[in-house]
C-alpha cells in the first residue's frame, strides 16, 4: 500500500524530516539564546544574547572546523565548550540530516525516534565531556556517562537503521491541545505554589488543565475543581502535615 502512495509524497516528507533534524542539531544553541534574552531584564545569570549568538556562530562556522584540522595537525589547544558542542552534537546531526535527503524512510516512527535518541545521547556526551576520565584503572566521574552515552548513540543509530531497512509504522500523529494545556497547568502550578498558595494555584491549574479537551463543560468543571481544591487544602497541609502555603502571600500579611 505504501508504494501506491506515490514517490513525491515521500520526497516532501524527507525534506521536512531533514529540516527538522537540522533544527534539532542547533536546538541547544537556540535554547540558550532564548534563555539569554532573559538576562536583558535581569533574570538569571548568564551570557547576554549577543555574546551567545556570536560565540555559537563562530563555534559552528569557524571554531569547530579549525579544531578538527587543528587536532589533525597535532595542535593540543583545549577547545571551548561551544566548539565542543558544535563538534560533538551539532555536526553529527547535520550529517544525519544531509543523509536523510538520500534515504527512503520505510518507518518514520523508528527512523525519527532512533535519531532523536541519538541526539539525546550525543548531548549527554557533550555534557559529560568536561568530566575526568579514567585515572589508571579507576573510573573517573566521566567514564560511566561516556560509556553509556556512546552505547546509546550506537543503539539509536541501530534503531534509525531499522527504520530505513524494514517496513514499519509511519510517524504517528501528535496532537497539540492536550500536551499544551496539561503542560501549561503544570508550569503554572510550579510557579504559583510559592507566592499564591495551594488554594489559588490548585484551582487555577485545574481549570487550565481542563482546557486540554474540547469536551469540558465549564459549570461542572468549576464545581469539581472547587471541591478538589478544598479536599487538597485539607488533606495535604492538615491531615498529612506537609508544609505548604495555603493562601496568597499578600493576603496573609
Amino acid at each position: 500500500m505504501a508504494d501506491t502512495m506515490g514517490h513525491s509524497a515521500t520526497a516532501t516528507r524527507n525534506t521536512s524530516v531533514a529540516i527538522g533534524f537540522c533544527l534539532l542539531a542547533v536546538a541547544p544553541q537556540i535554547f540558550e539564546f532564548i534563555w539569554s534574552i532573559g538576562t536583558i531584564f535581569g533574570w538569571g545569570a548568564g551570557r547576554g544574547p549577543a555574546t551567545v549568538l556570536i560565540s555559537h556562530a563562530t563555534a559552528l562556522l569557524a571554531g569547530a572546523p579549525a579544531a578538527i584540522f587543528g587536532s589533525v595537525g597535532g595542535d593540543a589547544k583545549k577547545a571551548s565548550s561551544d566548539v565542543l558542542l558544535a563538534l560533538i552534537y551539532s555536526y553529527p546531526l547535520f550529517v544525519v540530516a544531509i543523509l536523510t535527503f538520500f534515504m527512503t524512510i520505510r518507518s518514520g516512527q523508528d527512523y525519527i525516534g532512533g535519531t532523536m535518541l541519538m541526539a539525546l545521547a550525543l548531548f549527554a556526551l557533550w555534557a559529560s565531556s568536561d568530566l575526568q576520565g579514567m585515572r589508571g584503572f579507576s573510573f573517573g566521574a566521566g567514564t560511566a556517562p561516556r560509556m553509556f552515552g556512546g552505547l546509546l548513540v550506537a543503539l539509536g543509530a541501530g534503531i534509525a537503521l531499522t527504520g530505513l531497512l524494514a517496513e514499519g509504522p509511519a510517524l504517528s500523529h501528535y496532537s497539540w491541545r492536550g500536551p499544551l494545556f496539561v503542560m501549561a497547568s503544570i508550569v503554572f502550578f510550579a510557579l504559583a505554589i510559592r507566592p499564591l498558595g495551594v488554594v489559588v494555584s490548585a484551582f487555577a491549574s485545574f481549570l487550565i488543565a481542563a482546557m486540554g479537551t474540547h469536551e469540558t463543560r465549564w459549570i461542572e468543571t468549576t464545581i469539581v475543581g472547587a471541591c478538589l481544591t478544598l479536599g487538597c487544602a485539607v488533606l495535604f497541609p492538615y491531615v498529612l502535615g506537609l508544609p505548604m502555603p495555603m493562601f496568597p502571600r499578600f493576603l496573609v500579611q
Binding site: Q109, A124, R217, L228, M244
Partner: protein, 504 residues
C-alpha cells in the same frame, strides 16, 4: 522452625491497629486505582510517596504494597463486568471474563477471580517467607562483580519480557542508566550533566521521572483519543456469586498453574504482574483440550491470569527484600520509599529490620483477606465509580500529581521537571518505546555503576574479573543466552504472539 517464629513476629507487627489501618487504606486505594482506567499503579505509588513521609516506615511500606496487589484485584472487577481493564494486568481477564458476564455468569467469574487471587496471594506470601532467608544468605556471598552481573541479568530479563523491539528496549535501559547519572558523582563529588542548575545537583528524583513518564504522559496520551472513552456501562444485576461445582473443578488446576507460573515470573527480574497474566492465559489456551472455548467464556481464562498476576505482584518483593534489587518499576518505587525512610534495601534489611520485612509479609496475607471482603460484596460501588467521566478525572489527577511531587522536596522545579518528563513519555509512546525498562535502568544505574567501579578497582582494572569469578560468569552466561534466544526468529514469533493476545 525459625520460619514460624518469624511469621508469628510478622503477624504481631501487622496486626497492630495502625498497621491494619494502613493495610486497609492500601487495599482500598489499590482497588480504586485498579478499577479506574487511565491511572496506573506506578503513577499512584509515585503520587503517594510523599504521603508516607509522616508515617512510620513499616506502615508506609505496608500501605504501598497494598496498593500494588490491591490493584490486581480491582482491575479484574471492571474487566469482567464492563470489559474495561483498569490495569494492564487484567487485559487478558477481560477476554473470557466479560464473555462470562454477558452469559449472566458475572457472579461466578468474579468469585473465581477473587478465590484465585486469594489462593495465589497465600502461596506467594508463604513463598516469600520460605525463600527470604536462604536467598539473603546467598546474597551475602555476592561481591561487586556478582552484583554487577546480576543486575545485567535483571536488565536483560527486562528486555526479554518487554513488548516489541529488543533494540528499543535495550536503548530504553541505557537511556535510563544515563538519566541516573545526572547529579553528583558518588565517589568524586563532581557535578555531572547538571548544567549548574542547583536542583539537578542531587540528581533527577526517581519519583519525579516516574510521575512524568507514567502519570502525565498517560494523561496526555489519553487526551489524544478524546476524553470520552468508550464506556458502555451495562450494569448487570449480579445474581449468585457462588460458582458451581463444575466451575470449581474446572478452575482449580488453572489456579494452581497460574499461581506457579506467576510466582516464577514475579521473582525473575524484569518480570512482574503484566507478563505473568499474559503467560498464564497463553499456557491455559495451549494445554486446553478444546482451545476454541477460550474467548467464549471459559472460566480457566479468568482463573489462571488472575491467580498469576496476584502471585507475581507479591513474589516480586523477593528480589527487593533479599538482594536489594528491584525487579520492576513498582518495586523500584518501593526502593524510593525505603530510602526516604532511611532504610537501605539489601540483604542486611532482613536482619536489621525484621519488623519491617516480616510485618510486610504478614500484612500481605491480611491484605488479601481484606481484598476479598472489599471486592465481592462491594462490587456495585466500584462499578459505579466508572461513571465519573474522564474530562473531570484527568484535571484532578494532574493537580494531585503536581501537589504530590511538590511536597516531596518542596521544590517547584521538580514539578516542572515532571512535566518535561511527561512530554518525554508522550514522545516515547509515540515512537513505540516502552517506558518501564527506562525506569528500571534509572533505578539500577547508580547501583550498577558503583559495583562496576568497585569490581574493577578490586581487580586492578582487569575486566576479565566478571568471567573468572564463577558465580558472575554463570549469571552473565544466562544473560547472554537469554539475549540470543530472544533474537532467534522462532522465539520472537512466540513472544509476539503472547503480546498480540492483549490487543484483541
Amino acid at each position: 522452625m525459625e520460619l514460624f517464629a518469624n511469621l508469628a513476629h510478622g503477624f504481631a507487627v501487622a496486626l497492630t491497629p495502625i498497621n491494619l489501618l494502613m493495610c486497609l487504606i492500601g487495599a482500598l486505594v489499590g482497588t480504586l486505582v485498579g478499577v479506574l482506567p487511565g491511572i496506573g499503579t506506578i503513577a499512584t505509588v509515585a503520587m503517594l510517596l510523599p504521603i508516607t513521609f509522616g508515617l512510620p516506615p513499616v506502615g508506609a511500606l505496608i500501605m504501598l504494597a497494598g496498593i500494588y496487589y490491591g490493584a490486581q484485584y480491582g482491575g479484574s472487577t471492571t474487566s469482567i463486568l464492563v470489559n474495561i481493564p483498569g490495569e494492564a494486568t487484567s487485559v487478558v481477564t477481560a477476554i473470557d471474563g466479560h464473555q462470562m458476564a454477558k452469559q449472566g455468569r458475572a457472579g461466578p467469574a468474579l468469585a473465581i477471580a477473587a478465590i484465585g487471587s486469594f489462593f495465589a496471594g497465600c502461596v506467594a506470601t508463604i513463598l516469600i517467607a520460605v525463600l527470604g532467608a536462604p536467598l539473603t544468605k546467598l546474597a551475602l556471598a555476592f561481591g561487586p562483580a556478582e552484583y554487577f552481573s546480576l543486575m545485567v541479568l535483571g536488565l536483560i530479563f527486562a528486555v526479554v519480557l518487554a513488548k516489541g523491539s529488543v533494540l528499543k528496549a535495550i536503548a530504553m535501559i541505557v537511556f535510563g542508566l544515563l538519566l541516573s547519572m545526572v547529579g553528583s558523582d558518588i565517589e568524586t563529588g563532581a557535578s555531572r550533566m547538571a548544567f549548574n542548575i542547583p536542583e539537578l545537583a542531587d540528581g533527577l528524583g526517581f519519583a519525579t521521572v516516574a510521575m512524568g513518564v507514567f502519570g502525565f504522559a498517560e494523561i496526555i496520551r489519553n487526551l489524544d483519543a478524546g476524553a470520552e472513552m468508550n464506556r458502555d456501562l451495562v450494569q448487570q444485576k449480579i445474581t449468585g456469586l457462588m460458582p458451581t461445582r463444575k466451575d470449581l473443578a474446572d478452575s482449580t488446576p488453572a489456579i494452581l498453574r497460574g499461581t506457579v507460573l506467576g510466582s516464577i515470573l514475579g521473582i525473575l527480574p524484569g518480570g512482574g504482574a503484566v507478563i505473568a497474566s499474559f503467560a498464564a492465559y497463553t499456557l491455559e489456551k495451549k494445554i486446553a483440550k478444546n482451545p476454541s472455548r477460550f474467548g467464549r467464556g471459559a472460566i480457566e481464562g479468568v482463573a489462571a491470569p488472575e491467580s498469576a498476576n496476584n502471585a507475581a505482584a507479591q513474589t516480586s518483593f523477593i528480589p527487593l527484600l533479599t538482594l536489594g534489587i528491584p525487579p520492576n518499576a513498582v518495586m523500584a518505587l518501593m526502593v524510593g520509599a525505603m530510602t526516604i525512610h532511611g532504610i537501605v534495601p539489601g540483604p542486611q534489611v532482613m536482619q536489621k529490620q525484621p519488623d519491617l520485612v516480616w510485618g510486610m509479609i504478614a500484612s500481605m496475607w491480611i491484605g488479601n483477606l481484606m481484598l476479598i471482603i472489599i471486592n465481592l460484596p462491594l462490587v456495585g460501588i466500584w462499578v459505579r465509580l466508572l461513571r465519573v467521566p474522564y474530562r473531570l478525572m484527568f484535571p484532578s489527577i494532574v493537580i494531585f500529581c503536581a501537589i504530590g511531587i511538590y511536597s516531596v522536596n518542596n521544590a517547584p522545579v521538580d514539578v516542572i521537571l515532571a512535566g518535561v518528563f511527561g512530554l518525554v513519555g508522550y514522545w516515547l509512546i509515540k515512537h513505540d518505546f516502552e517506558p518501564a525498562p527506562l525506569l528500571l535502568g534509572m533505578v539500577l544505574g547508580p547501583l550498577m555503576e558503583e559495583n562496576l567501579r568497585r569490581a574493577l578497582l578490586i581487580s586492578r582494572g582487569d575486566w576479565s574479573v566478571f568471567l573468572t569469578r564463577p558465580l558472575s560468569a554463570v549469571l552473565l552466561a544466562i544473560a547472554a543466552f537469554l539475549l540470543v534466544l530472544t533474537v532467534l526468529p522462532a522465539l520472537r514469533a512466540k513472544r509476539d504472539e503472547v503480546f498480540t493476545e492483549s490487543e484483541n
